[in-house]
Symmetry: D2
Subunit: 433 residues, 4 copies
């Protein structure tokens, strides 16, 4: 017999919240989560899990948008100076920061949960309304922020690890906890799928906090998880003195400006959700010189391969045509891609069943249009290809501000609901096995 889950939560939740706040203070961008991943690995090992990481769980050939070696080195050093565990960090060379923990309890199904661990390049708000700032756990890494709740996801993952370990014979089979890097940008899941991480799994679940659903709500599936493509666009022109001989310049800044406006003006699809965003642009150097270079981070999305393809083609037209307009050279580098793969009906029913057992869940939404992308879909598609089950569901949480806002903050007690859902699924499937 293991411990009672609710009692455990009652006792441990403050520590899990503290864990989450520690992650919030030390946010790390995709493929540089050295501190986070090494703390995760250390903790899993301490709880008795077998731990695999680095090259064992990631295929380097499908890692898009890897940071440059000097950035990796710098981030590794910082991780070590802030409590990262050197023995694990050493094994994450090249930004292979994924971690997989496994706990076996005799025969039974292999149940996999995915937790994403990366942060965003966003400057965190420092106002009296922003809880992390007021409580003193705002980001210590300037320009990087956990603005999508992955700090909470990581904490849920470690809490589930702890609870499952503590629960003795209340479940059977194998629990596989996947801590995935670089979900933002849609880059971390595919290398883990390619490394075979879910090849032996029978069930796969990924959950997300928030998604515009209030606390106490569970969405049993997510519809319209968008297909997306991430592009880094560069224009290279020629500098010249802006008053002396501007006619000798080739203006990469105006190319960027024209391109950004035209991209945002792409005709949206008539029957599917499509989106485009230029999230960052940097151009030029000196005030009185024609700007010689411009880089842009671009993303297009669609509901299907078709509508994404439409957006990609239009984006390429615009990027190339703009280069011609301003007589500048251009390059387009594909930095990531996500797909949409719907939750299957079996998984959706399982999530619904467990949600109904939880007193804190007041409202169950069968399917929710979350409006975004998540590369968890690569795992789910692989499950479906293998004839197995995969789900993506939402644990509602009343947000202070939307995802990716500078004042994003979820309700920390909702970590408990996440743990209850996943442990509930583990027990339920264990009985099924």
């Amino acid at each position: 017999m293991g411990v009672d889950l609710n009692a455990l939560i009652g006792k441990r939740l403050p520590d899990w919240i503290a864990m989450r706040r520690d992650f919030h203070q030390h946010p790390e961008l995709g493929f540089t989560e050295f501190r986070t991943a090494s703390i995760v690995a250390e903790r899993l090992k301490g709880l008795g899990y077998s731990v695999r990481l680095g090259r064992d769980v990631m295929d380097p050939d499908t890692m898009y948008g890897k940071p440059r070696p000097d950035q990796l080195e710098k981030e590794m050093k910082r991780a070590l100076s802030e409590g990262g565990v050197a023995s694990w960090v050493d094994r994450m060379a090249g930004g292979m920061t994924g971690v997989v923990g496994e706990l076996k309890r005799g025969p039974g199904p292999v149940v996999a949960f995915r937790f994403d661990i990366d942060a965003l390049p966003i400057v965190e708000e420092t106002t009296r309304e922003h809880l992390p700032f007021v409580r003193g756990f705002a980001s210590r890494h300037p320009g990087v922020m956990h603005a999508c709740g992955h700090d909470g996801h990581t904490a849920i993952g470690l809490a589930v690890a702890e609870a499952a370990a503590a629960m003795g014979d209340r479940w059977r089979g194998t629990l596989k906890l996947i801590f995935q890097p670089a979900e933002e940008g849609g880059r971390g899941a595919l290398p883990m799928v390619k490394a075979g991480v879910v090849e032996d799994a029978d069930y796969f679940f990924a959950a997300h906090l928030g998604c515009n659903l209030p606390s106490g709500t569970i969405a049993a599936a997510v519809e319209k998880l968008l297909f997306s493509t991430k592009l880094d666009v560069t224009y290279r022109g020629r500098s010249a003195h802006a008053a002396n001989n501007p006619q000798d310049g080739r203006n990469a800044l105006l190319a960027g400006a024209s391109c950004a406006l035209a991209l945002h003006a792409i005709a949206r699809h008539g029957s599917e959700q499509t989106h485009v965003n230029v999230g960052r642009m940097v151009a030029g150097t000196a005030r009185n010189a024609i700007a010689a270079d411009c880089t842009m981070l671009v993303e297009v999305r669609g509901e299907s391969d078709d509508s994404l393809g439409y957006m990609e083609t239009r984006a390429q037209d615009i990027i190339e045509g703009t280069a011609r307009q301003w007589n500048v050279a251009h390059s387009i580098e594909r930095m990531g891609r996500t797909i949409g793969e719907p939750t299957d009906a079996t998984s959706q029913a399982l999530v619904t069943e467990i949600a109904r057992t939880l007193p804190d869940v007041k409202n169950i939404v069968p399917s929710w249009n979350a409006g975004g992308s998540d590369d968890a879909c690569y795992f789910i598609r692989r499950m479906h290809e293998r004839g197995k089950y995969g789900a993506y569901f939402v644990v509602g949480s009343s947000l202070a501000a939307g995802h990716h806002a500078t004042s994003f903050e979820f309700q920390e007690p909702d970590i408990a609901i996440g743990v209850q859902m996943l442990i509930g699924l583990l027990e339920r499937l264990s009985r099924a096995g």
Copy 2:
């Protein structure tokens, strides 16, 4: 009797070129020329000049666009680590990096020469065609480059100091060498004028290398030195997830893009040269978030207060209207201003007279449309207000690429012509006094 100038040049030119290359390797942006200025001061002192600097020669209230304290501190440290002279650097707190050296030789006119010493935020070319790279003296400061020849100007200034000191009784009166920071951006001259640096001067000369005139050419005056205004523009919007709830965002990147295009599309004046440039734009952070902020470095120019005023008014319309378009907040900060002040006929005649005496000068242009701005005009206007003389002339130099280009490079031997011209003027005016 002093030394013969040509003999001195013959002997010393290699060292002056070496000096220039040292400055080229260590370029410093406006108001952070700690290394350059301290080396200048040390050298002037060693040659017997009385040296004033910092607060004594600069009025802090008219220094626009001062760097932030942390930047100043960082640059000071770097200067010291690269050969800057601490005793002088300590006296340049707050970015007051102007230096004035004076040598008195009995009664006679006060003759002032101005040398600008700052570099540009430009990434220097690293190709086999670029001499500074090939010869190993390219910039060691990433993203900063002497791309306008001020390294040459500084070397000419120190060479003139040396030659004048060595020339014994070949001249009479007072020689005043003004080493001015922050010419780029039009920010360094006004504080020096306001500090009274030319209040006792009878003649003032500033010269520029290059300006699209080939080696062996002197332009005795420059026409249409443009009036200019430098603006830092900021847009502040609101971030939001680019697919989840883009409608909650306020897109500062698109505001910047619209603004840049509209600024460049301002109708140019029908009878005066007018220019506008957005030289740098930085917007947003993450690819999949609506960009919440954008900053732009903007410059407008005209041939007169009137046409500059026209450009300023149009720019302000556009900056404000764009903020309304995208529902973002905006700010406009004035970072610098230059005026145009023509060379007087007396000075122009003097320059012509000296140029005629030089065998290396094959061609004399009475007046040249250099098409740019130089805040030396603040000095010249002050001279004229005081009923004295002021000139801005060009020492032609066949350039590898235009001013502010990433592969800008002048002909180093033309340093000698600069020295000949200025020493020639000094001797001539000495006789006049």
Copy 3:
């Protein structure tokens, strides 16, 4: 006993198609359908219907975007010269071109059908692939085209009128045929609703041909009929010689260009379909003069009052901000508005029931996202407000090119399916009454 419907169709379809072709050849824009409406009225009267039109069926105060008096006069004259019936045309002063025909067959429900009759300002294709051109019935009115199938709708309406009249006692109650002008632009329905046209109706049906569904398909309801707002935007600047004194101009053409790009770049809503279009822009006069004026036809759409409101607010920001950018005056005139109102379940079931009885219908879609707007929703909303029933359904037709394309063309035999559906509903409701 009346005639057998299928036999009637078999005999009359060629004539109905000829009628449609006649309408196709003589397309008329919204509120100028003098020829079409007068032919409809004449025909209804000939079939024994009581006919009301003009002021009796339209409220002039809610007619947005009425043509100018001289245009109305010109169009009236043309109508008369091309076969319009003068006695009816005289009663349509002011563009009140709606016609309502009623046939009473004793007690029973009042069943209303809506047919829209207006054409679009589109230049019809003249290629060998375009059937109306090949068969010689392309538009004779340059720049005006039935590119949305309303010629077919009008023909269906007259065919239904004929069939219902011919069918003797096979139905009971009152049949009300509403021929609505100016559906394009969403302007014609509201004035008819306000004039009380459906105040006595028990059932209301509007149908549309095509909508991206192939021939043989019926969609029993349409979801997401978009809310839309039509705006006429004018910029007024100042002309000036483009080289002599461009600085005196205020460029309305560039204002239009900036505005159009920015409007199309409005962030689309994350969870609802939203659209924006600038369909027409005219600016300036002479090549070498700064353009002094610009007019644009703009439309924004959303799935709800909320998301439409979002688009309207953003559009207004942009239109106003752009005026400030270019220092031009602006005006915004609201030209029309449509709402979305879903088909009720009762009506949807009725349509489904009838569709099942038709051998030509191979596929029934319960609800279809047609992606557009139709101001038939004003009728449906009024029905629902009155506790009655209202439906909007689709009669699929394999199109040569999409709606509003210059080579739009539907399958003419599908007119028969439209007639079968409506007569089927009439009979069915007659039994219900």
Copy 4:
């Protein structure tokens, strides 16, 4: 002995002003000046001049931007209905509306004067401040206006014809009066030069009223008459329903908007005046359809073949690149071209000499930067090629509003100064001969 010029002017000026007002009321665009040209021809003949016109004085192969045949026919009809002289109009088929009158007075030099006769596609102002409106002689042709003073030029030409005829033996040689069509757009001069109109001339003068110089001023030459190229740009995309299937469209309106903004944002040359203008844009048809086509009237200018070439190349880049951006087809048609050719010193001295003799001339400017283009330069260049003399000078006139403004109006009495100048030149050269 002929009449005294001043007495003649005193008597005839009111009639000449009436003539000008008649032309002002009946403005005609380039190559459709049927009424104006036929009245000119009739009047010249009546005064005893030999008259050539149509094919005799114009080379059809170098007439760019000819109106379409149906337009020509329409304009011819209107001309006849408004007082045009049929016998002359008949000889101007194809828009060959140039007229040359010659009067021989024995041996002596051939002196040619050029008068341009065309109007602009500008809507004339109808306010209480606009004299032509207040006095009732505003344009009767909607959208066409004499907004550049060519009505005054034509009146001066006929007045000179009358005065020269009346002056008996006060001059010797041959007077050649060239009435040139289509100066706007730079299209009418080249065909007349190619037809040999000035092959026998010894002196050539063209004058322009206004040009930002006040009444009582003569500029003896014009500097920087700009080189210009006129382009008609067309984009052809594909229409689609703006909400239903916008992804099928190819938006030519947005292509036009992007192109116009980018063209106006071309970096202006650092040392020469350069200009660009999109004076007119028309795109799309229906509000709710993606616009399938767009046409633009574009003009680029420079001070030399070089700087014009730079502007042309950049314009072509932009036009082509924009087509790629929006995936639309494009065409560029060259509609006209002007060159700059400076007035020679001999002619300039002659103009100065005559101006000095006139009491109404208070101020003589040696050379004036008028900032525009005039294809009179084709005549002047041809004169210079033949070793003869050619001039372009300005007769100042205090304007109510700048050239091409909707409220342009010059001082009518300045017509007298124009006559005095030209007759003065004729007499002076006659003595020279």
